[in-house]
């Protein structure tokens, strides 16, 4: 798809979700994808984002990411919610606890706590199909049950642009001991974009802010941003948006190659996502 079609479709999805749900919010990781999604929200609503923007803060993000967050939040003037699993952080959960445990506690559970607190019924997430095999299997509107689970074996019928807009109660398999929160629907407005599309769009729009960590210095740049202990840069000399676009047109290196949690073992990402990971 061309950039115009990609943008049109994303705006349509964002407006559908806003019309159908009572209390949506968007997740923002300060990376290129979710910052692009924020920009698309501004376009969809002609300027202001009419719902909260959530940053899930593990406490392990890069210093440049926190600076970027605070600068953009004040420039664009949205309602920033910082979600932190304080108890887990106090209990010392960290990368040394194992990646499944760390991601689940500090990301998934932190988000669960805020959904519970704020009663969000829809969450916008800037995942893309081409990022990871498991994300390729997602619907645009994807329901999650009270235990936060993704029932990937029985996903809704989603034809044309008719989305499943009701989050169903799926309690049949749920045990009493599991922690539950309000069920919600994940909405994926840029699911149909490729990594290259995002950069070409950033180039075209000119005003989408980009974290400096994406640009190469001393022969290295970050291609995907995450927590400091589990994210490593790739070899690259691309130090401008144009150079990144050029690099992506020919690269054979996977986008998430620097993200440790995907790789620990086979199907790690599926396990994380079935538990509600983003």
């Amino acid at each position: 798809m061309g950039l115009k079609e990609l943008e049109n479709k994303s705006i349509y999805i964002i407006r559908e979700a806003y019309a159908e749900f009572d209390n949506p919010a968007i997740l923002w990781s300060m990376g290129k994808d979710s910052t692009t999604a924020l920009w698309l929200c501004r376009k969809a609503f002609f300027g202001d984002i009419p719902f909260p923007v959530i940053h899930i803060d593990t406490g392990y993000k890069f210093k440049q990411m926190y600076e970027f967050r605070d600068r953009i939040a004040s420039e664009w003037g949205f309602d920033l919610v910082i979600a932190k699993n304080e108890d887990a952080i106090k209990a010392g959960v960290g990368p040394k606890s194992g990646k499944l445990e760390c991601c689940t506690k500090l990301k998934t559970e932190a988000l669960m706590q805020y959904i519970d607190k704020r009663g969000f019924d829809a969450l916008f997430l800037a995942i893309r199909r081409d990022e990871h095999g498991i994300r390729a299997k997602e619907r645009v509107f994807s329901p999650r049950d009270e235990a936060f689970r993704w029932n990937y074996r029985d996903q809704p019928l989603e034809m044309w642009d008719q989305y499943q807009t009701q989050t169903q109660t799926q309690t049949q398999t749920q045990s009493q001991s599991e922690e539950t929160v309000q069920n919600h629907t994940r909405v994926h407005p840029i699911l149909h974009w490729r990594e290259l599309d995002v950069w070409e769009y950033i180039k075209r729009e000119k005003i989408i802010p980009v974290n400096s960590m994406y640009f190469a210095s001393n022969g290295k740049r970050y291609r995907s941003l995450g927590c400091e202990p589990c994210t490593s840069p790739i070899d690259s000399n691309a130090n401008t948006i144009d150079a990144i676009v050029k690099e992506l047109r020919t690269t054979k290196v996977a986008e998430r190659s620097g993200r440790a949690q995907d790789k620990e073992k086979a199907f790690m990402m599926q396990k994380l996502r079935a538990l509600g990971y983003m």
């Binding site: 349509y12 081409d130 990937y152 809704p156 989603e158």
Partner: protein, 401 residues
């Protein structure tokens, strides 16, 4: 050009393998992904298979079958393709429809060993209902039948008859081996008896029709921005010019388009697919309304004849469901089930039944609250609908009349 291609066909006829092959031969796969799959194959003590690029659920790999649909992108010398794999099992028809609904053209994969099977037929029926008219046939696994032209001809004539019975005018039949890549990206020397194009040559030759259709705009929402009322929505078909005289239905409001806007800019016109905002003088408008030009207006209806396929346990005459078309959401009653249709064969298997069941198709008279729908043949964007029951999307169909 962008082309959306869906691969359909019976289970184990090689849809996922063929897509894996297309991605590999078009050099769209990351080196690391190939290594990852090799590692997985070793872990599961299996031979490396192209299908593993698509079947990314652990369950899919264990069960060796595709459960859910997946779309992947690749580029040939000529086109950008979004290629969609769908499951070949009856129990996953819902996922097949989800995947096929966005397709411009379809590639039907039929095994040279097994020929036409149950899902080959059902998928053809569903493609016809979805209005996908261009279907190319690949006869796969030619390596398993010794590349014999006789076997190809036998399967070809079998499929030809099937396609004719559903009204498809298909002329392209390609003998391939997805596993080895024969006649996918490169010509196969062993099958020198085949003089036609490879699959990629066929796809690169696709022409998509772009008939001018009347203007239809669906209203998604009403926003107030700097105390101006903006009607947000999408142009579904045709073109919209600033100053146009339009009518919103079923609200009945008439007005002149004063502004066409996107964030921070005014436009003179918009075309099909554009997500925009419009400003009109006055009058009530709500989500679900459709506007068109006064001289070729949309007409709200209370009743229409549709053809639908059911993916839930059952549906009874007299039952009330929710119908969604465009952004409209209305109550709709099953006034009459005219004909019950076997979704495998396309045959009518019952006149005026009281009830239909999972995987049945039917022609149905729907009685609805006022809503704008169009004949699928005229404006497909507003000629297709989904049925919702107990908050779940349970069926889909098209408007016949």
């Amino acid at each position: 050009m962008n082309v959306n291609v869906v691969l359909v066909g019976h289970v184990d006829h090689g849809k996922s393998t063929l897509i894996g092959r297309l991605l590999y031969d078009s050099e769209s796969l990351m080196g690391e992904r190939v290594e990852e799959i090799q590692k997985l194959a070793e872990e599961y003590k299996r031979k490396f298979e192209f299908a593993y690029f698509l079947d990314s659920f652990e369950d899919e790999l264990k069960e060796e079958r595709t459960i859910d649909t997946v779309s992947l992108m690749f580029k040939s010398k000529k086109n950008y393709y979004t290629i969609t794999d769908v499951p070949g099992h009856k129990e996953f028809i819902k996922n097949m429809l989800t995947g096929a609904s966005h397709a411009d053209v379809a590639v039907l994969v039929v095994s040279a060993e097994e020929g036409v099977q149950e899902q080959t037929r059902r998928h053809m029926f569903l493609l016809k209902m979805l209005g996908i008219r261009q279907v190319f046939v690949v006869v796969n696994k030619m390596d398993a039948v010794g590349y014999k032209s006789e076997q190809f001809e036998t399967v070809k004539s079998q499929i030809g008859m099937l396609l004719n019975s559903f009204g498809f005018k298909t002329e392209v039949f390609i003998p391939i081996s997805a596993m080895d890549g024969d006649n996918v990206y490169r010509k196969c020397e062993v099958m020198d008896w085949y003089k036609g194009p490879t699959l990629i040559e066929t796809l690169d030759g696709v022409k998509l029709s772009s008939d001018e259709k009347p203007l239809r705009f669906v209203v998604q929402d009403i926003y107030s921005v700097d105390s101006e009322r903006i009607i947000a929505g999408r142009v579904e078909s045709g073109r919209l010019q600033k100053g146009a005289e339009v009518i919103f239905e079923p609200s009945g409001t008439k007005g002149e388009i004063e502004r066409i806007i996107v964030f921070d800019a005014d436009l003179e016109e918009a075309e099909a697919g554009d997500s925009i905002g419009v400003v009109i003088t006055a009058g009530d408008v709500k989500r679900g309304d459709v506007f068109g030009l006064l001289k070729r207006p949309p007409k709200p209806v209370n009743e229409f004849l549709g053809e639908a396929v059911l993916l839930d346990k059952s549906m009874r005459k007299g039952e009330t469901l929710e119908l969604r078309c465009g952004t409209a959401k209305v109550a709709c009653k099953i006034k009459e089930i005219k004909e019950k249709i076997n979704s495998e064969t396309g045959q009518v298997i019952g006149e005026r039944p009281e009830e239909i069941y999972e995987h049945d198709a039917a022609t149905i008279v729907f009685a609805t609250e006022p809503v704008v729908v169009e004949k699928f043949a005229d404006i497909p964007e507003l000629g297709r609908f989904v049925l919702v029951k107990a908050d779940k999307n349970i069926g889909a169909g098209v408007v016949l009349n």
